[in-house]
């Protein structure tokens, strides 16, 4: 792919953000997103996803590195970048004391939507987001799903070339998430919008993103299309769990025809193979021949969960850890308290 540097693109080069001189929330991240692409940042809480979005949307200054959005240098011209992008934050940021319609009209004015187009755009978005019936109700009376859709409408009222979605479906039920993504895909199709999304929902990243970067501890550990990432696993994963701890089974399992690699992990063995279904009986038989009793054998098709495990060495947990911002705030509090004691 040619290096994208122009309209509708996002480029980050060695982007680094260190909070309080200590917490490296983003650590030398580099990636390129082409126009019209849906690019996903996948990682657990505290991985650095929101910090990356904050830097790319000119809400946070980077410690080092470079970034351009829609062909504009974010660090040098943050105000120009703000004009060209739309953002949906993970928290609700529309004004609860204004109606849905007033929120959209306000956003349209702030983004400089021509006055003659405001009414039609606002009405169109209210219809599309299915909040037209509640358009003149205060936003604080909306349900969670309606409020989320209003957030998306506010973020896209000016038809931005690049849309940033930071954990946009947090707290929504599966039906709400599906609905939200339907609107995003429609907007993308109609306007050729580039979408940068952070999520810790694996199925969301798998189903909606053209390409994904897996971020962990502030670093991108793998990137590619969902299919490419799964292909890198080299096939199915069979997990063999012995009943009791005993001698290392790696040589025994590796000797079974069809096994690609064996990795010991937490008392179990992850066996990679091209055809897991056919391999399971052979693995069980090999263990039985060597008098190894098994607690269980499981087969997993390649999934992003497995991809995450492969590249980070640990299971993906959606609710794990504090965010980088939380960690920075906590560190600051501890430093203040220590300072106060002195």
């Amino acid at each position: 792919m040619a290096t994208p540097t122009g309209k509708g693109t996002i480029v980050a080069a060695e982007l680094t953000k260190v909070y309080n001189g200590k917490v490296r929330a983003v650590d030398g991240v580099s990636f390129e997103v082409a126009q019209g692409e849906v690019y996903g940042f996948l990682g657990p809480n505290g991985a650095g996803k929101t910090t990356t979005v904050a830097v790319l949307t000119a809400g946070l200054s980077a410690t080092s590195g470079q970034a351009t959005v829609d062909g504009i240098d974010v660090l040098r011209h943050p105000e120009d970048v703000k004009r060209r992008i739309g953002i949906v934050f993970q928290e609700m940021t529309s004004d609860g004391d204004l109606t849905g319609r007033e929120n959209l009209e306000l956003a349209a004015a702030l983004y400089g939507v021509p006055r003659s187009e405001v009414a039609s755009r606002v009405n169109g978005l209210l219809e599309r987001m299915q909040v037209a019936d509640a358009a003149d109700r205060l936003a604080k009376t909306y349900s969670g799903g309606m409020r989320r859709r209003l957030e998306l409408a506010v973020g896209t009222v000016h038809s931005p070339g690049v849309l940033f979605l930071d954990e946009p479906t947090l707290g929504l039920d599966p039906q709400g998430r599906a609905g939200f993504w339907k609107y995003v895909q429609e907007l993308r199709r109609e306007h050729g919008m580039t979408v940068f999304v952070t999520t810790h929902y694996l199925e969301e990243a798998d189903g909606m993103c053209d390409r994904i970067a897996i971020i962990d501890h502030g670093r991108i550990v793998a990137s590619g299309t969902p299919a490419e990432l799964k292909d890198r696993l080299g096939g199915d994963i069979v997990t063999v769990r012995p009943l009791a701890a005993g001698p290392d089974l790696t040589p025994l399992l590796k000797a079974v025809p069809g096994v690609l690699t064996v990795t010991a992990q937490d008392g179990s063995y992850r066996v990679k193979c091209p055809n897991g279904e056919g391999l399971v009986p052979k693995l069980v038989e090999a263990c039985a021949r060597s008098n190894v009793s098994l607690a269980g054998v499981s087969l997993k098709r390649p999934s992003l969960d497995e991809v995450f495990l492969e590249f980070t060495g640990r299971e993906f947990r959606e609710d794990e850890g504090f965010s980088a911002t939380d960690r920075a705030v906590m560190l600051g509090r501890v430093q203040n308290q220590l300072g106060g004691r002195r």
């Binding site: 904050a54 949307t57 000119a58 809400g59 946070l60 200054s61 943050p78 105000e79 703000k82 004009r83 953002i87 934050f89 928290e91 609700m92 940021t93 529309s94 004004d95 609860g96 004391d97 204004l98 007033e102 009209e105 306000l106 956003a107 004015a109 702030l110 983004y111 400089g112 506010v154």
Partner: protein, 274 residues
């Protein structure tokens, strides 16, 4: 910029209109002062009319002198919560949304200032009207003894507007600087009463010790109420060393200095976080 300021100002005014208790709250303290303190503190009963005139700088009664002071004080009470709105907008994410748009810090600050001064200006004239009404109802009331000229009326309006701009800027600046509501209210409480008590809004000028007069002379509330009193009371100018326009200039200097500081603080608060 103009469109952004207009849109954000409309938003502030809609919120104010949907929260009428904020208007009532800011009117409560000056009204209580008028109804209780102003009625009870009957200075005229204790001194001769000529002495009284000296004490209250040419005003016909203490209440008239005091009512003009309350019109100035309302600029404080009606702008007190402007900074709290900034803090709550930050806590609820609204400020994050606004500062993620192309609207600059000056537009965000300017719109809050514009919307913020409407209330104190309106309430100041309401207080003056109410003070006149109390007199008509047989209680101590405000008596305007000077023929108020067009220029004089303009000076009174200008004094109230500038004073409101100054205090609105001050409290917005504090709101942009402080993150926690409880800290904000502590700071505001620490400002509110000292500003009132070091001014000539309440105390008869002639009873103040010299050192207190020196302090009160520079208080922005004093500067504003001097303008009001010089214009409302016949012969009052003889009791003031300067013309009302000089006090207006002093007040404008106060307002300009605080606006500059407030814009700097707002820009810092809304700049990309480091």
């Amino acid at each position: 910029m103009i469109r952004e300021v207009g849109a954000l100002t409309r938003r502030e005014l809609k919120r104010l209109a949907r929260n009428p208790q904020a208007i009532v709250t800011s009117l409560l303290l000056p009204i209580l002062y008028l109804l209780l303190f102003g009625q009870a503190f009957n200075l005229g009963a204790a001194v001769s009319p000529s002495v009284l005139k000296e004490l209250v700088r040419g005003a016909p009664t203490y209440f008239s002198y005091f009512a003009a002071g309350m019109a100035g004080f309302v600029a404080v009470t009606a702008t007190l919560f402007l900074g709290a709105n900034v803090i709550f907008d930050r806590l609820f994410g609204v400020l994050k949304r606004t500062s993620s748009t192309p609207a600059g810090a000056t537009a965000i600050f300017g719109s809050r200032l514009l919307a913020g001064i409407l209330q104190p200006v309106g309430l100041a004239f309401l207080v003056l009207g109410l003070a006149v009404g109390l007199g008509k109802a047989g209680l101590s009331g405000l008596t305007v003894t000077a023929p108020v000229s067009f220029v004089g009326a303009g000076e009174v309006v200008l004094a109230i507007v500038i004073l409101s701009v100054m205090f609105a800027s001050l409290f917005l600046a504090i709101g942009f600087t402080i993150e926690q509501p409880q800290s904000y209210f502590a700071v505001v409480n620490a400002i509110n009463l000292p500003v009132l008590l070091t001014s000539a809004a309440l105390f008869p000028w002639g009873l103040m010790p010299v050192w207190f007069r020196n302090v009160a002379s520079f208080n922005p509330i004093t500067l504003a109420v001097n303008v009001i009193r010089e214009n409302l009371f016949a012969g009052a100018t003889a009791y003031y060393p300067y013309d009302a326009s000089v006090y207006l200039l002093g007040l404008a200097a106060w307002a300009a200095a605080i606006i500059v500081v407030a814009i700097v603080l707002a820009r810092r608060a809304l700049a990309p976080r480091s």
